[in-house]
Point group: none
Chain length 225, copies 4
Amino acid sequence: MRRAAVSKESRPDEIAPGAGPRRDKREVILDAAIQVFAQRGYHGSRVSDIAREAGIAYGLVYHYFRNKEEILHTIFEERWGGFLEAVEAIATSKTTAEDKLVSVAALILNAYRLRPAWVKVLVLEIQRSSRVTDPEQIRAVGRFFQLVAKILRSGQEAGELRRDLDPDVACYVFIGALELVITSLVLRVIRRDEPEADAREFYLEVARTVVEICLRGLAANGGAR
Amino acid sequence: MRRAAVSKESRPDEIAPGAGPRRDKREVILDAAIQVFAQRGYHGSRVSDIAREAGIAYGLVYHYFRNKEEILHTIFEERWGGFLEAVEAIATSKTTAEDKLVSVAALILNAYRLRPAWVKVLVLEIQRSSRVTDPEQIRAVGRFFQLVAKILRSGQEAGELRRDLDPDVACYVFIGALELVITSLVLRVIRRDEPEADAREFYLEVARTVVEICLRGLAANGGAR
Amino acid sequence: MRRAAVSKESRPDEIAPGAGPRRDKREVILDAAIQVFAQRGYHGSRVSDIAREAGIAYGLVYHYFRNKEEILHTIFEERWGGFLEAVEAIATSKTTAEDKLVSVAALILNAYRLRPAWVKVLVLEIQRSSRVTDPEQIRAVGRFFQLVAKILRSGQEAGELRRDLDPDVACYVFIGALELVITSLVLRVIRRDEPEADAREFYLEVARTVVEICLRGLAANGGAR
Amino acid sequence: MRRAAVSKESRPDEIAPGAGPRRDKREVILDAAIQVFAQRGYHGSRVSDIAREAGIAYGLVYHYFRNKEEILHTIFEERWGGFLEAVEAIATSKTTAEDKLVSVAALILNAYRLRPAWVKVLVLEIQRSSRVTDPEQIRAVGRFFQLVAKILRSGQEAGELRRDLDPDVACYVFIGALELVITSLVLRVIRRDEPEADAREFYLEVARTVVEICLRGLAANGGAR
DNA sequence: CATGAATGAGAATTCATTCAT
DNA sequence: GATGAATGAATTCTCATTCAT
């Protein structure tokens, strides 16, 4: 009866599943690499750092990956795809633009909460290492922006959002805001000493704040619109 | 008589001085380094890359800088310092918060216009490269965030901005938005085929859009506040 | 009762036994190693290359051989020994020097026909790989040259061969000629598109040509001797 | 007055010029590589071995060559070309086939005398290391065989050589004989303890013997042709 | 017997830094 | 000042060998 093993299968319903026991060694390496890349950057990371983080001999890394760059490429390939699917699901759901944006923000922040290194690598390292013009990756990253822009556009069409703002610029504001908030969280600039139990709550609150600003702005009384 | 040298001194009253004829070789190296660091990251950049970009022999780099790290450090020291002063001037000026934010956005975007790599290096590299995070630099970067937060706070006190939003989170939204907009401009994701002459105008427009969103939000009719 | 194993013993009475069905795995590895060594050289060959050529997992190689060097050593031991015996039989047979030389040439060429890589490895690799030239092996290789020289010397004594030529140099000419002919056959420089059925005939013809040249020379009318 | 330096220039009238003082470092590396490759084989040689032999830091090797393989390729490229030219000159000269063959044999043996490692690398290593099918190299090696075959063919046409032997096979006999003689000289199988002064004479004698055998054969009284 | 994951010594290669010219 | 050859520490990568399954 190998039924128990079933529960060990990675469950795709969470973007950043916790590191369970007995995970495939390949996954262990990938996770270790994310961790290390996030901390030192791709170029600043040694393969031996990754191996140490993964708790294996560095030779084994080359058993699973052709070279260091392939690790990064794989991280992108495998993780970004899942992320995009989740965002896509949000973008096409039947709800208000505000709800969708909160969901996207929460998705990202939550992923950060569980795996802070995750997004950091995706956002900071991948473009820069892979010869700036791997069209496949460029396109994959662009897909995310398009999805957010799509949310904004449908919000405009539904009359929920202002139509005088270019959704393409607006999506940069939203995503950029999220990105820096996340970065600052990672860099511990934003203090968060609360017990782990409250973390989820805390991140949701931050997500709401970001969306609130992006939607209704900082101006008192809604500005002199 | 070193009189001639005087005119070569870098003048900190401009954040991103254009590449005039006869610039001091030291400056050329610094600019080249910024360019290269921004593209490949500090660790991913070779001294010979910098030298090639600067159009000199790589040995010469060591006439002006003790080593590679000192280049990065110098970039930070000299460029960031000037930048902070400019932001400080804006933050303490007598005008509305909105004006200040537009000024800051325009300052950054304009710097980017002249030297796209500039902020990228400052924000992304400096922390990661200096071992264990040089506290002095961390603080210096933090100073910028504090200045923006200060602008927001004084806007709240003056009743111009909502008081229900944490200015510390809000400043990340503002700066993060700016950063990503800039990055996308650099990466040519946002198309801009207009002649160079209109560039200044274009960037000012972008700055206004960012501030507009941050102040009055994306929501139609000011949201149901 | 390991009776079954008996039939697996390699029988040294054939220099290059054809690959029959159910050959001992050990033999398969040795043959694969010869093939691979011949192509890439000992140092250039990976154990995994040998295993792939043999169609087994590389770990299994270490069930049959202590390490890579032992494979080479074994090739030498087992194959060269049998070869020497065959040459010895020819050298001591009661016939003319010419017949003996044709036999030796045919022996080698035939071995090549069945296992082209064979001699190449023996001649090129063994000396170079064994640190500082294992004297035993050097001597064993030298034994072959001595046998050929012996054939030549007895031919001189019998008045069949010229006595004004140093048999030690002459044997190099003979063996060297054979070797290069073989190499060129392996490298497909000498074309041979005939069906496999004629191969034996073809190689015998080549053997005769080589001996013909070595015996009666290239010169028209026997030269102006 | 740097006149003396003139005489230090490498003189192209010798195939294997002695290593003069102050030779270009690149040449030094190349020569060292030849030496080391000849001794241990390409795969068995470490870059650091080459560097030590050349008396430089191993890093410098990469100043002049992209990688180890390029060294080998360069050796072939530069040395083989010169060799071919010399053979070509012999092949097209106005003299008997016998004279030409003696010249070729002497050329090679003499090159060996001056640089034993030279031919060894060319003959043994280059084919095997460079992915067996670098068409350019294959062709270049083939060119040598063609030149020898050409000598034989023109000898046949002039009635100097027998016409019943395939010149393409015959050239293998000649070249193969030379090759093995040379190898044995290198491997010190053929003893040669005579003072260096006699070396030239010795090698010329060997050359003559090889040609003698190839032309007039080993058989007494010219065989029963 | 078989397999191939795991290890780590060792070789190739990179690149910051020095230094003679 | 300028140049680029020279050096060698640090890293990446290879592959023989071991070992759990």
